[in-house]
């Protein structure tokens, strides 16, 4: 019996290590990255965060702009219960870096069927990049509860 137990535990260990190996490959080999520490927005309690954001680059000028051929940067602010801007337009094949933050409570920033899935936390800057190869309209939605009308908070990315 002990032999069975040892065998089982050894197999279990090998499976877990193999899974970890696959994850390392997905990061190093496929270049799938998670959001990380990408800067902060400093604000004191007596200041309105939204007002601070309006003076803090790049959030003083939300929207999308081409930063290099085929590469775009989209700057968005999430607040109850909308994104500013609500729509991002880019040509097909563009690599878009989203740079976003929240002006009030915690929001989500999720584009289903892409790698864009991140939290918007007041005071923190969230960054994620995705290459949109297929034309179409992509739903951007808030997937963190943010108050009474949370379910209405959405935007879109239009890829032409």
């Amino acid at each position: 019996m002990e032999r069975y137990e040892e065998g089982f535990l050894l197999a279990a260990g090998i499976v877990l290590v193999a899974f970890l190996g696959a994850l390392v490959y997905s990061v190093v080999g496929l270049g799938i990255v998670l959001p990380t520490a990408s800067g902060r927005v400093y604000c004191t309690p007596d200041q309105k965060l939204l007002k601070v954001l309006r003076k803090t680059p790049p959030f003083d000028n939300p929207g999308v702009k081409e930063v290099a051929p085929g590469k775009y940067e989209a700057v968005l602010i999430g607040q109850t219960w909308q994104y500013t801007p609500e729509e991002i337009d880019v040509p097909a094949g563009s690599e878009v870096t989203f740079r976003a933050t929240s002006a009030d409570v915690i929001h989500g920033f999720f584009i289903p069927n892409t790698r864009i899935n991140m939290m918007l936390i007041p005071g923190e800057v969230s960054v994620a990049t995705y290459k949109f190869t297929q034309p179409g309209e992509y739903l951007l939605l808030c997937h963190e509860y943010c108050g009474r009308l949370h379910h209405t908070m959405a935007g879109k990315v239009v890829v032409k």
């Binding site: 535990l9 994850l23 990061v27 007041p122 997937h143 379910h151 959405a154």
Partner: protein, 554 residues
């Protein structure tokens, strides 16, 4: 060779006044669960486009209902059950009574805490869900209530430790009986794990809700919350593991294989506390290195659950073969399925296989991008806490309530039907939630009112499955409430109390060698603290001083 997992295998009974203080929190938890279950039905049907909110007096929004559902089911029921059950198992394991004033204190703290939080939730002053992420702001009664609930768990733990220490003085050099060891270890793990939420609530949220702090720090609070928020699932699960390891083997006519490996599994849960970052994989402000560290540690914590899978399956197989089962899986059908306590818990174990595997997916670093905050997550945790834990609680109740009341279970058949309905219901509901999640359906969202949900066909079928499964789960819960109430008030009285089930072990604990260190919990706590400082220290220190932002009452 065989040895008992309790100090005195012949009869031991707690005094009646102590038993009352143990059963009341359990009944209290299940009474509140009535509200939690009704809210669950409402949310499941909402996914299918059917809104019950307009017909529910006092409930004004989906999110108020969801707060009640999460807080009652995940925080109150679990705490109430664990406080009662783990007090009982500690006392029985050591075969000695507990400290009565501490039992009373834990009970009243729980009641007052829950009433305060319930006041805030029912009046719509705490629509913040069970994660209560600031700067969403709740009424102070919500935070103070939850703090009292946590303190009641600490009092319960103190009671266990005092009882254990008294036992040790009288039995120098003896191994702690396994039933008591696993129970005390569960609470020691929780004492340590709950420090994060305690700091968050006591030093940040309560002063803020009283106006003493100008704002809240969202990331700091969130990080402290999830420091506790993952190990809290061990706190939900480990009382069930106590049952699976030390009681189910007896109930199926088998035996627990290894005393030593059982203790190793519980110690690993104390050691590997700092895994909460895996709930924050897509958060800004936390660097990738610490996120990946938490992936590795989370995979490490999967190991004791695989050990549990082996130990429990071994016990089931021994039982099934003793009952005449043959072949590779023939024994499985020979275990006593007609015993509702066994039926409920073995079905819970099967569901836990799926729950554990889906949990591993969620914890898989960048794979989390696919499922984070989608309905895949509630799909996962209704398999784990919603079934592996809660259906096991129900199975435990099927022997424990007759034990408390000295009455027979009212209807064995109803209890079996209840278990089967829960099993089928959760499989349908979680299937719906998970397929929806993979198609981008968000969690904790009033989907019936979400304007973007209407034109997404993949979500439609997922929502309908969620509604059907949730309805079956609700019917099962109603069966359980009937069974519980009828057993308490109308069960056939019995002359004597049958002792609780506890198994023998094939491999007894050693009385010398390295194994003795397993019983020295403080060593493992120190090791866990060191690991925690390494994993959490840099992020927390790097984030200081706190960035306070203004609150918003939802």
């Amino acid at each position: 060779m065989s040895t008992s997992v309790v100090y005195n295998p012949s009869k031991f009974e707690l005094p009646e006044d102590q038993l009352k203080l143990i059963k009341w929190p359990i009944y209290f938890g299940f009474t509140l669960f009535v509200v939690g279950a009704i809210m669950g039905l409402e949310q499941a049907l909402d996914h299918a486009g059917i809104r019950l909110i307009p017909y529910m007096p006092g409930i004004n929004s989906y999110y108020q209902g969801l707060t009640l559902h999460g807080v009652i089911n995940a925080l109150v029921l679990t705490t109430a059950f664990a406080n009662g059950f783990m007090s009982l198992t500690t006392a029985r394991g050591l075969s000695r009574p507990l400290n009565k004033p501490l039992l009373q204190l834990a009970w009243w703290l729980l009641v007052i805490g829950v009433l305060l939080a319930a006041f805030a939730m029912f009046t719509g002053n705490a629509n913040v869900l069970f994660t209560f992420y600031p700067p969403l702001e709740a009424h102070w009664t919500f935070y103070v209530g939850l703090a009292l609930v946590v303190i009641s768990t600490w009092v319960t733990s103190a009671n266990q430790l005092i009882t254990l220490s008294a036992w040790r003085k009288e039995h120098p050099g003896e191994r702690i009986p396994l039933l008591a060891f696993t129970s005390v270890a569960t609470y020691v793990m929780w004492d340590f794990a709950s420090v994060g939420i305690a700091i968050e609530v006591v030093f940040l949220l309560i002063p803020w809700s009283f106006g003493l702090l100008a704002g809240a720090d969202p990331l700091l609070s969130r990080t402290l919350f999830w420091f506790t928020g993952h190990p809290i699932v061990y706190y939900w699960l480990l009382p069930v593991y106590v049952s699976w390891y030390t009681m189910i083997p007896k109930q199926v006519g088998g035996a627990l294989f290894s005393d030593r490996f059982t203790r190793v599994a519980f110690v690993m849960f104390i050691l590997l506390i700092p895994v909460g970052f895996h709930h924050q994989y897509v958060d800004p402000g936390i660097t990738q290195g610490f996120k990946f560290t938490s992936t590795v540690l989370t995979f490490g914590i999967f190991f004791p659950s695989l050990m549990t899978a082996f130990a429990v399956m071994y016990a089931l197989e021994i039982g099934g073969r003793r009952a005449g089962g043959t072949g590779l899986i023939g024994w499985f059908f020979k275990i006593p399925w007609g015993d509702p306590s066994v039926c409920a818990q073995v079905l819970a174990m099967i569901v836990f296989l799926l729950g554990g595997l889906s949990g591993l997916m969620n914890a898989s670093y960048d794979m989390n991008l696919v499922v984070h905050n989608t309905s895949f997550i509630p799909g996962h945790f209704h398999l784990t806490v919603g079934t592996a834990v809660v259906l096991s609680y129900m199975g435990i109740c099927y022997w424990m309530v007759p034990y408390f009341e000295k009455r027979k279970l009212w209807s064995r058949k109803l209890a079996l039907v209840q278990s089967a309905l829960w099993f089928v219901g959760v499989l349908i509901m979680s299937r719906g939630l998970m397929m929806g999640g993979l198609a981008g359906m968000p969690r904790r969202t009033d989907l019936a009112l979400a304007p973007y949900a209407a034109n997404l066909p993949e979500w439609h079928i997922a929502g309908i499955m969620t509604g059907i499964g949730g309805t079956i789960l609700f019917i099962s819960a109603v069966c359980f409430f009937i069974e519980l109430g009828m057993t308490i008030f109308a069960g056939e009285p019995e002359a004597a109390r049958e002792d609780m089930p506890f198994t023998a072990t094939v491999q007894a604990p050693e009385s010398s060698g390295w194994e003795l260190n397993l019983d020295r919990l403080r060593y493992w706590v120190v090791a866990g603290v060191v690991l925690t400082v390494l994993v959490y220290g840099p992020t927390l220190i790097g984030h200081l001083p706190p960035t306070f932002v203004a609150g918003l009452q939802p």
